[in-house]
């Protein structure tokens, strides 16, 4: 049993694949978070375009991952760039939607008092709304974590490296131990990251929205 794991780990270069996988994961997730929060802030200060934005992102969300890859291939080629781009395109919506909702749903009581004691509109946005939206934002990021994990695995199909590669190889070669070990490993990573995100979300919720 242990021998099989060690041999599959070595032949499939799982250490290298994991490093590739996680580096793509963190790059994609960071880009998504930054873009989504900036987009949410922009849309928030100009609410008339909010619906248009969310409709566009909703449409992207409904495109199957594989089809999206194919759209992106002529523009970004093969490998990591289209994979990361796909991750970002999928992840922006949940983070942005949650950020927007979080910003908009801060209880009016706090906004009133903030205004009354002399905060400007921007100060209210950054000192009151944004911090109080953090629990919801982290909820959106948690959804994005799951998306990103899945899409990067699929990126193995378009030569992006990562843990999708041993899975693809296993399927093509009918190498059942490789399939099982690689998929269990990806699954474990996904569960662990989701749990970490869940813990952070809870901490933030207690810190920023205790009532």
């Amino acid at each position: 049993m242990l021998d099989t794991i060690i041999s599959v780990w070595a032949t499939q270069q799982l250490t290298l694949r994991t490093i590739q996988h996680l580096s793509m994961f963190f790059i994609a997730l960071s880009i998504s978070i930054i873009l989504a929060i900036i987009a949410a802030l922009l849309v928030y200060s100009n609410p008339r375009v909010a619906n248009i934005w969310f409709n566009i992102l909703n449409v992207i969300e409904t495109i199957p991952e594989l089809a999206l890859f194919i759209f992106l291939l002529p523009i970004l080629g093969l490998g990591e760039p289209p994979t990361i781009a796909a991750c970002v395109l999928y992840s922006i919506l949940p983070i942005m939607r949650n950020t927007y909702t979080g910003l908009a749903n801060v209880s009016n009581e706090y906004i009133e008092i903030a205004k009354a004691i002399g905060l400007t509109k921007n100060e209210i946005l950054f000192k009151i709304r944004l911090p109080m939206a953090l629990p919801l934002i982290s909820g959106g990021i948690r959804v994005a974590v799951v998306y990103t994990m899945g899409i990067i695995t699929l990126g193995g199909l378009i030569a992006a490296g990562g843990l999708g590669v041993p899975l693809q190889a296993g399927i093509h070669q009918y190498n059942i131990p490789a399939i099982i070990i690689a998929s269990l490993w990806v699954g474990t990573l996904g569960v662990v990251f989701d749990a970490v995100a869940w813990i952070i979300e809870n901490k933030l919720a207690r810190r920023y929205n205790p009532w």
Partner: protein, 363 residues
């Protein structure tokens, strides 16, 4: 501060209807009225959370419309019933939010926060780093007051700040607030629907009803001379008059505290020392011929020769028996222009009736 024919219209109803009044520096002005009377709207007009449809609001002679609303608001403290402490900030961060935006130095903010927490009777070491949800309602309201005072604003706006607290706590906070107010000498506009609260705190009260100010006056003016039925109904004057008829001196007097008694033939210097160390402004002397006189601290201080006997400064006092009727005491005080009577049973001083505290007790 001055309101000059101010009107605010919400969907065709006049929430504030042609309101004019002045608020003097250093006074606590209460806007009293039921919900929907326009008192909160009036308050929100002052710091421009809303702008009037007609009329002008002046602050120190300047039209508030010409001022930057953010700067204006930073020069006014604001306290509301829901308190509105920001849940993601510590007590210190809540109090220091505006100083920080005004780019105060960190050490100055810390110093100010500690000062204010001491002022509102919350030990800074224990409370500074706590979050609002870790505090009780009364403690939160104290922090809310501290936050309003952070920039040392000359004007404080308060909207039913004690309304959500249970009655006992409310009374305690009102008393604390009064003593803080005496220390700070700020102009305060205070909105409430609670008549007792209004009478306890106010220098003057503006009674509001349906967007109009019906009457402005001191508590006793409102109680004894309401301009119309509505005011007397809001104030409850009728019931209070009934109360005056059956109350007697002994029901409303404050039991005599020995510290108010002073020996005759003392020198002014001795008397002044005693009165200052007892923190009293007025004392009572019983002369050997049985006369009761009052000695007023400022009279002694104004006198040039501190070796003179205090007997020269005794003022006459109104003296009544314990079963004297309250309404006749008030008449007596009114005719003699005094604020104090001594209640005596045969030759024993039993207590004092101070008209101000009687009025407060009545409501």
């Amino acid at each position: 501060m001055k309101f000059d024919h101010v009107t605010k219209i919400y969907k065709e109803t006049k929430a504030v209807d042609d309101v004019s009044f002045d608020i003097c520096k250093g006074e606590l002005f209460v806007l009293l009225g039921s919900s929907g009377s326009g008192k909160t709207t009036t308050l929100r007009l002052i710091n421009r959370l809303i702008d009037p449809d007609e009329g002008t609001i002046y602050l120190n002679g300047n039209d508030t419309k010409d001022m930057n609303p953010v700067e204006l608001r930073r020069r006014m403290g604001y306290v509301i019933q829901q308190i509105g402490l920001f849940p993601h900030m510590t007590v210190k961060e809540n109090i220091g939010i505006i100083p920080k935006l005004e780019r105060w130095k960190e050490e100055d903010i810390s110093k100010r926060t500690n000062e204010l927490l001491n002022l509102v009777a919350l030990p800074p070491d224990y409370f500074r780093s706590r979050y609002p949800h870790q505090l009780s309602g009364g403690q939160q309201q104290r922090v809310g007051l501290a936050r309003a005072l952070a920039m040392d604003p000359p004007l404080l706006l308060m909207d039913e700040p004690f309304g959500a607290l249970d009655p006992l706590l409310r009374m305690q906070l009102q008393n604390e607030f009064l003593s803080i107010k005496r220390k700070l000498e700020k102009t305060i506009v205070f909105v409430t629907h609670d008549i007792e609260e209004a009478f306890t705190l106010a220098d003057r009260i503006g009674v509001m009803h349906n967007g109009k100010i019906l009457q402005i006056g001191t508590p006793s003016e409102l109680l004894f001379n309401p301009v119309n039925e509505i005011v007397s109904k809001i104030i409850g004057s009728e019931n209070k008059f009934k109360a005056i008829k059956f109350l007697q001196a002994k029901d409303v007097m404050i039991p005599m505290d020995k510290k108010y008694l002073i020996q005759e033939n003392m020198t002014c210097q001795e008397a002044v020392n005693i009165m200052i160390s007892n923190k009293i402004e007025l004392s009572i002397v019983k002369e050997s011929n049985g006369d009761i006189k009052q000695i007023i601290l400022s009279d002694l201080l104004k006198n040039e020769d501190m070796r003179r006997s205090i007997n020269d400064f005794g003022r006459k006092l109104v003296i009544v028996p314990p079963d004297e009727n309250l309404s006749s005491i008030i008449t007596l005080l009114k005719s003699s222009n005094e604020k104090l009577v001594i209640v005596m049973n045969q030759n024993e001083i039993q207590g004092l009736v101070m008209i101000d505290s009687v009025l407060i007790n009545l409501v």
